[in-house]
Subunit: 304 residues, 2 copies
């Protein structure tokens, strides 16, 4: 029997107006699901569940399809595609959101096509936890359900989020989100509380300070890849998740060693994401470039 | 010929009044040189150059001597010992200094005893860069001169610090200090500039985010040891440096692999420092405890 290693991603597909200290870009391609799909397509076949408006260019759909992204789950409805406008300060820290227009995303109810229902690896991009849960309820016997969220849902939709967290395996969030979700300042206490909420696998993103994995078999840290020329951090978190989930799907294993390497690949992918606007740097990556950066990271952690 | 692995430490010996979210302590034993001497004494013979007042207890001097710390360089003069009072906020971040009384330290001019002049490993604790330089000028053919400093000297004594930096090999400072010293926000650019100022070995302390080594042969990262019960971070930086310098002196090598392991041991020692007030936790450590924690840290970085 052929091994199935597909990844289903649900999330947003968007146009972004982005301003960073390195420049600005209008109607840049973005959205959590699009960032994830482009990144993960370097590792495994990707199935996309999302919605776009009739302003979304056909050639962009074709470009995703050419990457091996299955678009049967991409709805196209009348209206405008989700739009976000944001600006990064001099330190490239959290973006200031200047405008958000949900547009066609406002009525989005994710429908998982019949052909996607047995997808083994599922990632829930950062959208309303009730929508994320709708996807969980439509897939059959997945091997791993990974999930992202953000302060907006942690504070605004705690009940829906709590219900979702009981149904997922892996939560990938940043340090501040982990503290807000758990009410604990100490990261290790925060993760212990999050595990009580459901997910037995937790990955904490620490930006320039790397990432930490909390696996049933142990804890593992990876430093961030040192970047000298940041361009645009938009989508770095989704691209990180795409490397993590992509590597796991490719290896088709949930063991500790696979997760460790997945963190290395996620970190490598996130570093590429920051080196260009949109996924300019990520989309054309070769396997050699990805492996070379992962090897550079491994060298920075090696005691030999 | 017998290999010489002694470490000379110059810095402050102090009494501290400390308040942290975990409690408070009055007339706690402290000061950069005392913290360093206690930590490093687990690795190599230590020679102390410092000054105390006539209020410093004889039994404390005897306790340091019992640890193998050579006290021929400890001056005792009429007056009060250096005193610092500080308070840590809820996040155990940077301490707020409430009072500093230099006392006998105000007239300190470090004198390196004749028997110390050929000490191979030298560490300059965080005192005025002109005093640090006086020590450099008194030692003969050291193998390694390590140095700490702080924002106060970086901003207040840039010329004296610049002169000192040309004479040292290893600078151990925190991220904020590296940015202030270099004028660069990006850590890697900051370190490149610092290397132009003199030291070819730079270690950046990142607190809860671990530490980074910049060695001529490469870059290396170590995560912080996860602490669930912080007591008092006072002296953690000096104790980190004591583990780094102590391990290097014990191995009597400056190669990349030795420096990497030195970072692991420095991180282990710093974690112990935070687990108790003063050096309550560090002083009674056994070799087994130190090695066990270093092994735990290594496991958190291992891809196997």
């Amino acid at each position: 029997m052929k091994k199935s290693r597909e990844i289903l991603i649900v999330g947003s597909v968007a146009f972004d107006d982005v301003e960073t200290p390195a420049g600005r870009r209008e109607r840049s391609l973005g959205g959590s699901a699009q960032y994830f799909a482009v990144g993960a397509s370097h590792f495994a076949p990707v199935r996309l569940v999302a919605v776009v408006g009739d302003d979304f260019p056909e050639e962009r759909v074709a470009a995703l399809a050419a990457r091996g992204v299955d678009l049967n789950g991409l709805e196209r409805v009348p209206g405008q595609t989700f739009f976000w406008r944001g600006r990064y300060g001099a330190d490239f820290g959290d973006a200031e959101t200047l405008d958000t227009r949900l547009n066609v995303f406002a009525d989005f109810a994710p429908k998982v096509p019949a052909a996607y229902k047995h997808t083994p690896y599922v990632f829930l991009g950062n959208i309303h936890p009730a929508l994320q849960e709708q996807v969980v309820d439509q897939v059959v016997e997945p091997k791993l359900i990974g999930c992202d969220t953000m302060n907006f849902w942690i504070s605004g939709e705690p009940a829906a989020l709590a219900q979702l967290l009981r149904k997922i395996n892996l939560l990938i969030i940043n340090e501040g989100e982990a503290r807000l979700l758990s009410g604990e300042k100490n990261l290790f206490k925060a993760v212990a509380k999050i595990k009580e909420m459901g997910p037995q696998l937790v990955i904490i993103k620490k930006g320039a300070h790397g990432a930490a994995l909390f696996h049933p078999e142990g804890v593992f840290f990876v430093p961030a890849f040192p970047l000298s020329a940041l361009q645009d951090p938009t989508g770095a978190g989704d691209t990180f998740a795409s490397g993590v989930m992509g590597y796991i799907a490719q290896r088709d294993s949930l063991d500790f060693k696979t997760f460790k390497m997945a963190l290395v690949y996620g970190t490598a992918m996130a570093s590429f994401a920051c080196e260009g606007f949109s996924f300019d740097r990520v989309a054309p990556l070769t396997q050699d470039e990805i492996h070379a950066r992962a090897e550079q990271l491994k060298a920075m952690m090696s005691l030999d």
